[in-house]
């Protein structure tokens, strides 16, 4: 370390003028403010080389210009330079590709050669912010990253290095923490344990060894078997395919999670032994020691908790999602137990940290920098955790009184105060204990309740308690990470070095760089600067992460793979039903698969080859579905044709599609059998014979030996639709499976769900949402061809209906007619109740099912969801149906593959859909 010359003036402008600096971590919260402050206050700096990580296909430059430069942190520069802002940035900042975890930070060798001897300093403002990362990740960034930094600085001509660490490397200590060379007190328990046993390089070697071992042990046979089992169970629980690539990916994910948890545990064990509270501070400290031992000119900047700015780039700027924000957010959202004490909680505004870093850089360039600068407020203007907690309580009260109007729960929250617990009490009585108690209650009720009636009533409540317990465990994990800093250690970080540096600045520089923690009025700052900043910049981000839409499920590779999987998974569960004189018949998933395979064999024997088209004509019935899958099993393409298709249209479809075979029901054959020309007509009626297994299957002797399913790449065309607008839309297996995967997230159907088919199956929306979606979730689909809708609703008792806007409009009309049929009073009260239910819905009270019991009985009694497609539902209809207590959601139609030019220009008449359910059906 260079000897300090305290009496000299520190002329930052002169030192930074024409200086070229390499900045790592310049895109983070602190890094951005530092770069912006440097350019705003000292525009004479020649150039900043910003090392930016490549992300996916986005290059460093793209990321800088699109993500970093759009931040409000650059507003002061925008104001200063106006229309020249962009040219100024282009002149001063050069984004270069690299990553701290790569050798020489990934900076290109040619560039390093060009910059050799021309760089004034390397500044590192990067670091991971997770407190308990896996050991390998923490080491990679915090320890090896520093080695890479040192290598880069050496390669650039032994240039000075400014490294950012954290005050909390102090670890398990209380009282004053001096700004001393990390080698003087290399680990927190240095006064207690033998120092000779500590060597940062040996620590790294040993950590590498245990990382290697942990990864090796994960390959043990019994672990592999365990991973496979767990992966299968996960996939089954998520209704994702449990074979092929998805299974391999899930096994890898389970294995990675296991190794990560092992490494996090191992890292914590080592950290705690030496006296650090977590892996983050342990590896940060190792990094510091590597840096100072490098022999380079190095200075370390250790900020405390970096928080909202007081002046630059604006009053109230914050992006820190892992500092005090989660604690304040948790309290605001109702968390009442927190680990805390009357100990100091050292927070420091980000602009003060950035200013102090510039001072440190000045002294580094000046050659007078000490080894460490601590940047905190605890030695000049301490604030305690208890005070922060009080102020958070004040904020919470104000927030709920202001925003909680109309919600009794939120109004009540304004009057609930939290409690600070010591770590021991937090462990004993905190959210973890609450979660344990909740789980015990669930266990107790489940063990004691034999009665299914009680089970049926208690199940939803128990489910909610289970969810609450999970939430409490999550909060406990989060808050526990903060416990060492908020409840255990009482630090007072000495910040003499930065004060001394500031004393050396000129008046102008002192005015430009704010370092006055003693001037902070914590109440004013917290309530009027910090919290508004969090509400504006950070809480939306936390809420976005909390409400992150669930990721789409993994798609099956093909529709036949889907049926194979469902056949195995749901086996004897009912897949399809058909209206018969005695009620709805049942076809299990096993039967559906077996009969589809048998159909495929029959088709193959009739000469159908891969890629051929097969026409499918008929009303909605299980035979249609079996034939559909049969064609797919034969690697052919299904061309569904409306049952009421005109002869001329069918002739054209046969000609354009080049279909060799046509599968149709008896009615269609009677009408259209003669117009299919060279196309061979096969009857699907055999499929529908109740009682015995299909006679054709017996003739083919396929009942016991079904052909193995073909291997599909997913790119084959599964479906060709000859649409009303004279276009041919083709759908590949993959497109349909991906649509299904995204639909399954929005509509998480269960095997208990029943769907009544209302629309013709040749419509791709109905095919996807009304057939393939329920089949992919183990639900059942009922076809009621030949029966009345009222009978079908009563018998099938659907939980879900799929339809288009006109179906819902008709349904609404039917219900209104039914109300009118009961007399004028009933009709009048129906409208009044609808309005009442709508108003209650707005307050979050759902009474539709109670108020309209008779209507629900007419709809089968269990209907809860309507899936709408093919257009927007009329507003009045939507409001009426939701007031009835039904959930109405829109589902997308599958996207066809890029359109193929079809010779269908002569198709003059729109293929009409089969008749909709008639009003009289319900009467």
């Amino acid at each position: 370390m260079t000897q300090r010359a305290a009496d000299d003036r520190l002329d930052l402008s002169a030192l930074l003028n024409d200086a070229q600096v390499i900045v790592i971590g310049g895109t983070g919260f602190l890094g951005k403010v530092w770069v912006s402050l440097l350019l705003a206050r000292y525009p004479g700096v020649k150039r900043l080389y910003l090392v930016v990580r490549r992300k996916g296909t986005d290059s460093a430059g793209q990321r800088f210009w699109q993500e970093t430069l759009t931040s409000p942190v650059w507003d002061p520069l925008r104001e200063q330079h106006g229309s020249h802002f962009e040219s100024f940035i282009r002149e001063k900042i050069v984004p270069i590709e690299g990553d701290i975890v790569l050798p020489q930070c990934g900076v290109d060798a040619t560039l390093r050669k060009q910059l050799h001897g021309r760089i004034a300093a390397v500044v590192n403002a990067s670091g991971i912010v997770d407190f308990e990362p896996p050991l390998d990740v923490a080491l990679e960034v915090n320890a090896f990253g520093v080695q890479n930094l040192v290598a880069l600085a050496r390669d650039l001509g032994d240039c000075p290095l400014l490294h950012t660490s954290t005050c909390f490397v102090a670890g398990n200590r209380t009282g004053f923490v001096e700004e001393e060379d990390p080698r003087l007190h290399p680990f927190p328990r240095a006064g207690e344990l033998e120092r000779a046993h500590w060597d940062p390089n040996r620590e790294i070697d040993e950590c590498l060894s245990i990382i290697e071992q942990a990864k090796e042990r994960a390959n043990d046979a019994f672990r592999q078997s365990h991973f496979l089992n767990e992966a299968r169970a996960n996939l089954l629980a998520r209704h994702e395919p449990a074979t092929g690539d998805p299974l391999e990916q899930e096994v890898e994910r389970v294995k990675r999670k296991y190794v990560e948890s092992q490494l996090a545990e191992m890292g914590n064990e080592r950290a705690r032994f030496w006296g650090w509270p977590n892996t983050y501070t342990y590896t940060k400290s190792i990094g510091e020691q590597i840096a100072v031992a490098s022999g380079l000119q190095v200075t370390i900047v250790r900020p405390a908790i970096v928080e909202t700015s007081v002046g630059f780039p604006r009053v109230g700027w914050n992006e820190g999602i892992n500092t005090s924000a989660p604690l304040i957010y948790a309290i605001r959202e109702g968390q009442t137990q927190l680990p805390g004490s009357t100990h100091n909680l050292d927070m420091i505004p980000v602009d003060m940290v950035a200013g102090a870093m510039l001072m440190a850089l000045g002294e580094l360039l000046d050659g007078s920098a000490p080894a460490v600068y601590q940047l905190g407020a605890s030695d000049s203007n301490p604030v305690t955790m208890a005070r922060v907690f009080e102020l958070t309580g004040l904020y919470k009260r104000r927030h709920h009184l202001l925003h909680g109007k109309g919600s009794p729960l939120r109004t009540a929250q304004a009057h609930v105060e939290g409690t600070l617990f010591t770590s021991e009490r937090f462990e004993k009585y905190g959210p973890k204990a609450v979660a344990r108690a909740a789980r015990s209650l669930v266990d107790l009720v489940q063990r004691r309740s034999e009665s299914p009636t009680f089970k049926a009533v208690s199940q939803p409540v128990l489910h909610n308690i289970e969810q609450f317990a999970k939430g409490q465990e999550r909060i406990a994990r989060l808050l526990w990470q903060f416990a060492p800093f908020t409840a255990d250690y009482d630090y007072t970080f000495r910040c003499d070095h930065v004060r001394a540096a500031r004393a050396r600045l000129s008046e102008a520089d002192r005015a430009a760089l704010n370092w006055e923690p003693e001037a902070i009025d914590w109440r004013q700052w917290f309530l009027h600067v910090h919290v508004p900043a969090l509400e504006r910049w950070v809480f939306p981000e936390i809420e976005k992460r909390r409400r992150r839409p669930p990721r789409p499920l993994r798609a099956h590779s093909s529709l036949t793979a889907l049926l194979e999987e469902m056949g195995r998974r749901h086996d004897l569960q009912v897949a399809l039903q058909h209206a018969e004189a005695d009620g709805f018949s049942r076809i299990s998933y096993r039967d559906l698969r077996t009969q589809s395979l048998a159909c495929a064999q029959r088709l193959i024997e009739r000469g159908v080859a891969a890629g051929d088209s097969v026409l499918l004509i008929g009303d909605n019935q299980p035979a249609w579905v079996m034939a559909f899958f049969g064609v797919l099993y034969a690697s052919a393409t299904v061309v569904p044709v409306p049952a009421n298709c005109e002869a001329a249209d069918l002739t054209r479809i046969v000609r354009v599609s080049g279909a060799k075979l046509c599968l149709g029901d008896a009615t269609a054959r009677l009408r259209l059998g003669s117009v299919v020309g060279s196309c061979t007509w096969l009857s699907v009626d055999d499929f529908t014979q109740p009682g015995a297994w299909p006679s054709w299957a017996q003739q083919l002797s396929v009942s016991t030996t079904v052909p193995p399913p073909p291997i599909s790449t997913g790119e084959e065309t599964a479906l060709q639709i000859f649409a009303t607008d004279q276009q041919v839309a083709s759908f590949s297996h993959r497109a349909l499976c991906e649509t299904l995967a995204s639909l399954a997230v929005k509509f998480p159907l269960t095997p208990q769900d029943r769907l009544l088919s209302l629309q013709p199956l040749h419509d791709p929306f109905e095919l996807c949402s009304g057939l393939l979606l329920p089949l992919s979730r183990g639900a059942r689909v009922a076809y009621w061809e030949g029966a009345s809708l009222a009978w079908a609703l009563q018998e099938a008792r659907p939980t879900i209906l799929v339809g288009n806007p006109s179906v819902w409009q008709e349904l609404e009309q039917l219900l209104r007619v039914q109300a009118r049929n009961n007399g004028a009073i009933a009709a009048g009260s129906f409208e009044t109740l609808l309005e009442l239910s709508r108003r209650l819905n707005r307050s979050g009270i759902q009474l539709g099912r109670v108020l309209f019991q008779a209507m629900h009985r007419a709809l089968g009694g269990e209907l809860r969801c309507l899936i709408n497609g093919n257009g927007a539902i009329a507003d009045a209809t939507f409001r009426a149906l939701t007031a009835l207590g039904l959930r109405v959601s829109n589902a997308p139609s599958p996207e066809p593959d890029p359109p193929a030019a079809g010779d269908f220009s002569q198709h003059s008449r729109a293929a009409t859909l089969p008749a909709r359910p008639k009003s009289s059906d319900l009467n």
């Binding site: 009665s451 299914p452 009636t453 049926a456 749901h570 086996d571 004897l572 569960q573 009912v574 058909h578 018969e580 005695d582 009620g583 709805f584 018949s585 049942r586 076809i587 299990s588 039967d591 299980p622 499929f687 529908t688 014979q689 109740p690 009682g691 015995a692 297994w693 095997p751 008792r797 009694g861 269990e862």
Partner: protein, 298 residues
Amino acid sequence: MSHPCVVTLSQHSRPRVLLSGDRLVEVKLPAGTQCLYPRKIAIQDLLDGGAFEPAMVLLTKNEDDLSSGEYAALRAAITRGRLGLTRSQATAALAVIAGAPLDRLRVPVASQVDVLVVGTPVSSALQSSNPLQMRGELLSWLCASGFPLVKRGGTLIVTHPFTDAFDHRRHAAHYDFVHRLLPKTRDTDLLRERYEVQFVRDPALLSMHAQGGAVHPAQAFFDWCRGEPARQHLGRLITVGADNEYMPQLLGFETAASIEEALYRAKGERSTLDIGCVGLPDLVQPQLSNRAATEAAA
């Protein structure tokens, strides 16, 4: 595709609810079991006439299709104990069951089964407990169509308490038959040869029949004999839920503590079992497909 009244159970199926005497019991049957339910047309008169109480109506439906409320009501009936049927309800129900045309009862099935689990016949449950009569009704039902649903040598499992509590006034002859004749022999030919004439001419029993409203003593002999073809067709008869050991033994049944035990015994050395279940036997008449009937006949 199965007929609407034939239900193949999956792993998630609810337990079936069967009649055991005049009570309801739950039995958990393995996946793959085929359950037969009565056709609507078969029970329409019972429903229209209000002869069935709500729990009995639910018994005619597939348990898997019942709503939570309906299933809870069924469970409540199980907990409650005896079915609270009024005399007029029981009389109406018996009249309808006795007069039901066979066509209405027919439910097509694909093949015979190795084991058939049956509940107590409704007509038997509606009367006072009479194990001999129940046996007669059940076994005669099995062979009524000429092609029993159970394979030759198969097992019949019935849920019945076999309570030794005959109606001494009305079923004096049944009591006498079970307690006096059956301990001597269960061989039907021997019974008929040695005891029939003497039994049906017993002056005390005839007097009770003529003046006390008791059934004719020949009815007891008839109830025993009408089960004979089925008894010869079957391999084992097992009862589940019997409250004593001797009554089932007298009537030719083994006793098992649970349905699982009964199925374990029925399985024997076999690797798999085709299991069937008929909850309301006298309201369902299984009709084998032509192919299955030909095989059964062969």
